[in-house]
């Protein structure tokens, strides 16, 4: 029986052999590219996971500040220095609310309603701060709407905090 592959190979020209080598190199190149692509995708997924985890941890440090701001504003309202204290408290809140809303949006850490509440209350805080300068109304009056919104935010933030604590503790295996 004649070995056909030997006959065919014997009939190959130098150009045919070079073509075969080129084909093999191309296939290996494709395989390497696919392998590298898979590694890149896995690395990107891992990076995203790390970012989400670190943002959850960061949120756990930021969220208690909402309670602190509420307490400070209550103090400012009762204090003789309320007009001096309140603008800084309101400015801090406006920045904090925007920062947390941004993190929630980017990493999907809570629902859209929480983000809307945070953004709205941030604007209201800035408006109240403005009013403290241009009107002679009392701090308690100027901050009335803001305090109502802050109460609503606090409810949502408590829920977000519970969820984030569960997520962070669950990931580190410290479920209790």
């Amino acid at each position: 029986m004649i070995d056909t592959s030997f006959v065919l190979a014997a009939a190959w020209t130098r150009g045919d052999r070079l073509g075969l080598v080129g084909l093999v190199i191309t296939i290996i190149g494709f395989l390497l590219a696919i392998f590298q692509l898979q590694r890149t995708v896995r690395a990107a997924e891992a990076t995203h996971e790390v970012l989400v985890r670190s943002s959850r941890t960061q949120m756990l440090f930021l969220l208690p500040q909402f309670r602190q701001i509420e307490t400070e504003l209550d103090y400012a309202i009762r204090s003789d220095q309320g007009r001096e204290l309140a603008p800084r408290i309101l400015a801090s809140y406006a920045h904090l609310a925007n920062e947390v809303a941004g993190m929630i949006e980017v990493y999907g850490l809570a629902d859209a309603e929480t983000v809307t509440l945070l953004r709205t209350s941030s604007r209201t805080a800035s408006e109240a701060k403005d009013q403290l300068f241009v009107t002679r109304k009392k701090v308690v009056e100027v901050t009335r709407v803001f305090r109502q919104e802050l109460a609503a935010v606090s409810v949502h933030i408590s829920q977000v905090m519970t969820t984030q604590q569960q997520q962070v503790l669950g990931r580190t295996g410290r479920t209790s």
């Binding site: 603008p87 406006a94 800035s126 701060k129 403290l132 300068f133």
Partner: protein, 126 residues
């Protein structure tokens, strides 16, 4: 050191607002919440301290060589020995208006709005 009295600060802001609204000041943006204008032998920078476009505003007045001469702020108040509620109210109102006018001119907001409507006009043309 208080270079200007409260009354002088109020007058400075009022005159700056008048010039700005007359289009005589070439405001430029330093950032989204900070604007500057050269006035000849001096220049000023006006900014929203908390970067939120509302009070408190800070107006810093510099000499031409860049040294800070003095600053005017939403937190400035008349001398407690001679309170002047009307002047204080006007000062705060005008400082806010000056910031709004400076921002509108520095960021060319009116031109941008005109372009947006011009686009609609173009599309509406049969």
């Amino acid at each position: 050191m208080n270079v200007l009295t409260f009354e002088q600060k109020a007058e400075y802001v009022a005159r700056l607002l008048h010039l700005s609204r007359s289009g005589k000041l070439g405001w430029a943006a330093v950032s989204e919440h900070s604007f500057t204008v050269h006035l000849g032998r001096s220049f000023v920078e006006l900014l929203a301290r908390d970067e939120d476009d509302v009070h408190p505003y800070l107006l810093q007045i510099f000499r031409a060589d860049g040294t800070l001469l003095t600053q005017v702020s939403s937190e400035d108040r008349p001398d407690p020995a001679a309170p002047n509620d009307a002047l204080e109210e006007r000062f705060l109102l005008e400082l806010g208006r000056l910031y709004a006018d400076a921002k509108r001119r520095a960021l060319r907001i009116d031109e941008a709005v005109a372009e947006v409507f011009a686009d609609l006009d173009d599309l509406d043309t049969p």
